[in-house]
Subunit: 196 residues, 2 copies
Amino acid sequence: MNFIQQRIIRDGTVKAGGILITDSFLNHQVDIALTDQIGQEFHRRFASCPITRVLTMETSGIAIGYSVAQKFGVPLVYAKKDSSIKLDGDVYAAEVACCPGEEPQQVIVSKKFLTPQDRVLIVDDILANGFSLQCLISLVEAAGATVEGLGIVVEKGFLEGGHRMRNLGYRLESLAIIDAMDADTNQIHFRDPENH
Amino acid sequence: MNFIQQRIIRDGTVKAGGILITDSFLNHQVDIALTDQIGQEFHRRFASCPITRVLTMETSGIAIGYSVAQKFGVPLVYAKKDSSIKLDGDVYAAEVACCPGEEPQQVIVSKKFLTPQDRVLIVDDILANGFSLQCLISLVEAAGATVEGLGIVVEKGFLEGGHRMRNLGYRLESLAIIDAMDADTNQIHFRDPENH
């Protein structure tokens, strides 16, 4: 098991409905040493890509995005869900729904921070149905920029998101892919990294 | 001028109504080198405090909080505004309004991540009326933990928040305090650091 799988086994909690609680290290309390290691690992995996910006979605992608951007020595940009936010100038906009059937929410990125010359690494904490990634990809494409890759900490392999992204031809690197998990026993089954 | 004041002068934009746009380096695109320097500076200013956790408010405090927590070698915790979020167990809750007259919003922190033994450094990007800081302070106090200090990147000194926090006896360190700014000329007047 790699360092993320080990941490999920140690500190993750499975809840009914395919929910994995990672709030003690990933997305409420942030373990800085772990997040630093996440940044290193994505830097290693995408070392050959000429990344110019790291893009993520607020809120839970920001700490990971910070770490990854730090390793690449490039700026972090986070897409914003709050349309009341104070931005200067024009924006690219896309819509995202957290769950099927939910009312979509507008997400924006200022046009100043995504240009046609940009080669973007998109990162996020969790990949489930892929709606958030699709939204981020559409923002990059609206800017005429290039998606170099997608970096995910925990992919729920029992949902469609990862499959769809790979079918669309994107290079998706997930540090842990969960194929099944059981809320009664708290057991988690990871996919073999050779078998994506 | 210190490094934050210089950056505000270079890249900040003043808008009517006391609005300062810092989205190119602080809270939409994040300049990692600058944010790293912010972390170093807060670490220097609070070096004598036995900080055990850094606390901030989602969203725009997270990158700064990450940098500060990295320098202190402690976890970052960010208070969450989204009550639909997946957390495990009980929470401390407080209410915050962004602006006077606005409907207050509930903010929560899991009880797992603030304990009576904690000595907390609260950080945020902007201090205006202080509602966000008051909310974070009340979460720390609800946990029986100790507020060691408040670290702010940009304080709007022409509003009441900073004055109120200092009057309440908190140690507030603002890297830049703006006493006045003019949307027509984009001029910004900083307070002398000796004159807080």
